[in-house]
């Protein structure tokens, strides 16, 4: 299940978007606008604004639009947050409402203590 690491870490922020490389590249998988997915989006946004100002980029992937995108990160449930950068990749499932758990999962320096 974790065999795709080397593969995934190549996937740095898309140079086509012109976005500058950031320290934290987060990918949130959702399926349409279900309550948990919507909550996850806002929880993640708030968390990043507070703890990672200017150092993050969020990519929102709607699996209803494109179910095959689930394959790359081996997503089995939504919402799932994947930390693409910095390596190694980490996943967090759920609506991200438990801030402490998310901070720990992302291994943020602020939450390290």
């Amino acid at each position: 299940m974790m065999s795709g690491h080397s593969d995934e870490s190549q996937d740095v922020p898309d140079p086509a978007t012109g976005n500058p490389a950031v320290e934290y590249y987060l990918r949130l998988y959702v399926a349409g606008q279900s309550p948990n997915c919507v909550r996850a989006v806002d929880n993640l946004t708030r968390l990043c604004e507070e703890h990672l100002p200017g150092q993050y980029r969020i990519e929102l992937i709607d699996l209803v639009e494109n179910p095959t995108l689930a394959r790359g990160d081996e997503i089995v449930a939504v919402p799932t947050l994947v930390r693409r950068l910095p390596p190694p990749p980490r996943k967090i499932i759920g609506d991200l409402s438990q801030t402490e758990n998310v901070l720990a999962g992302l291994q943020l320096p602020e939450a390290g203590g």
Binding site: V30, P35, R39, A40, V76, K91, I93, S97
Partner: protein, 430 residues
């Protein structure tokens, strides 16, 4: 309310546990079991699964039951987006992505305010503050990736998804409407500018004619008085040639006086405000005109008749002038036969259409327009008296009343002049 509570992997716990959890073996088995179930779901024709929760069972739909609605939103001709409470774009339909000339991958997940120009930020925030069940609308400009602005009408509604508020935004492209409006406004401005110009040049011309004719009168009177005095002073001492020359000068001055006074008369028509509009009984006016012209009528042995004529709205003296000029012409430009002039009227919408018909010499249709010009005459000077101002005044009077004047004629068959004037009462039909 924490999502995914019923899944074996607790929310917020990193998924990288298989290698280092103390009870990793048990966990691995659970995960494998879950994977098997997921595989079964993937392979089979399962629509929903039932999962046990702490208090009760829950049904989770696997196939997207709202697919049809999504297809409609996806393909509709207007831009559509959904936005989270914090203003993050959750969904953008094909149309909105096209309007923004952007890639949905980059639009989704970004702040909704990124879609709009700096000037519209507060409009959009205000719009999105819409309460559940309400709809707010505003015009704004989408800002495309290349910086171009697209005018849109925005309608925002708020959906309550089990305690989570989601805003739906519909954007109607106003580019075509704006362009049409702009073109229309441009056309209207141009038209206004031109008609203003025309009006001004008309006014200038009238002003010039008025001033010129008015100021010319005095010096002309002097020329004519002094040539008369000169002729008297010199008396018999003038030889025939000198007297003839003096007569020419005197006649020229007199003719010029006539022209100037005609021009002044013409310039005076419709000068100033339309204060004198009133109900004008045309029966009476034609009678008056006939009396005014009685000498000419008698001299020509003419018969002037008229049908019962209606009442119009207008300037009495101007309309009287109109009838006098037309009947006067009809009597003046007579042929071999005894002159017969007939005035009649017929209703024409909000107007009355009058006809003054004679059996005189008629007019070449090629001249039907030009005879209404100032000082335009079709005959050698001396064959018929006049300066050629009569019909120009008629035209000015009729147009001043919002009507139209024209002539129907052939040489030798008489002429019928027609013109329209506004009816006094639109319901009055005599």
């Amino acid at each position: 309310m924490a999502g995914g509570a019923s899944l074996p992997v607790p929310p917020g716990v990193p998924d990288g546990v298989s290698g280092n959890a103390p009870d990793g073996v048990l966990l691995r088995e659970q995960i494998l079991d879950l994977e098997k179930r997921l595989h079964a779901i993937r392979a089979g024709g399962i629509d929903s699964v039932v999962l046990g929760g702490p208090d009760r069972e829950s049904v989770f739909a696997l196939t997207n039951t709202s697919r049809t609605y999504r297809a409609i939103a996806e393909n509709m001709g207007e831009g559509a987006a959904t936005v989270s409470e914090r203003g993050v774009v959750l969904y953008v339909n094909l149309m909105l992505a096209a309007m923004l000339a952007g890639d949905r991958r980059h639009l989704v997940g970004a702040p909704v305010t990124d879609m709009f120009g700096a000037a519209d930020q507060s409009t959009v925030s205000g719009l999105l503050a819409v309460a559940p069940g309400a709809t707010t609308r505003a015009e704004a400009n989408l800002r495309r990736r290349d910086g171009a602005l697209v005018p849109v009408l925005l309608a925002a509604t708020c959906l309550d998804l089990e305690g989570v508020l989601v805003r739906c935004l519909i954007a109607t492209d106003l580019t075509a409407r704006k362009e049409a409006e702009d073109a229309l406004a441009r056309g209207r401005r141009e038209l206004e500018r031109r008609s203003e110009e025309l009006e001004r040049s008309n006014r200038d011309l009238e002003q010039f004619a008025y001033v010129a004719s008015h100021d010319l009168q005095e010096p002309l009177r002097m020329v004519s008085s002094y040539t008369t005095l000169l002729a008297e002073d010199l008396g018999d001492s003038l030889d025939d040639t000198a007297r003839r020359h003096l007569d020419f000068a005197h006649d020229g001055a007199a003719r010029m006086q006539q022209l100037v006074s005609d021009l002044l008369h013409y310039a005076r028509v419709s000068r100033g405000a339309d204060t004198g509009r009133q109900r004008v009984d045309c029966d009476q006016l034609v009678e008056t005109a006939t009396v005014d012209l009685h000498e000419a009528i008698a001299a020509a042995g003419a018969t002037v008749t008229h049908d019962p004529l209606p009442t119009v709205t207008g300037m009495r003296t101007e309309i009287e002038q109109l009838f006098t000029n037309l009947v006067g012409n009809a009597v003046k430009f007579r042929g071999e036969e005894p002159v017969r002039v007939h005035v009649s009227a017929a209703r024409d919408g909000p107007m009355w259409r009058f006809s003054v018909a004679d059996n005189g010499i008629g007019i070449d249709p090629a001249q039907a327009e030009t005879i209404f010009d100032v000082f335009r005459r079709l005959h050698k000077p001396g064959s018929y008296p006049g300066t050629g101002i009569g019909l120009a005044i008629c035209k000015k009077v009729v147009e001043h009343h919002g009507g139209r004047i024209w002539v129907e004629s052939q040489p030798g068959t008489g002429a019928t002049f027609r013109f329209t004037l506004p009816a006094a009462d639109n319901d009055q039909v005599d």
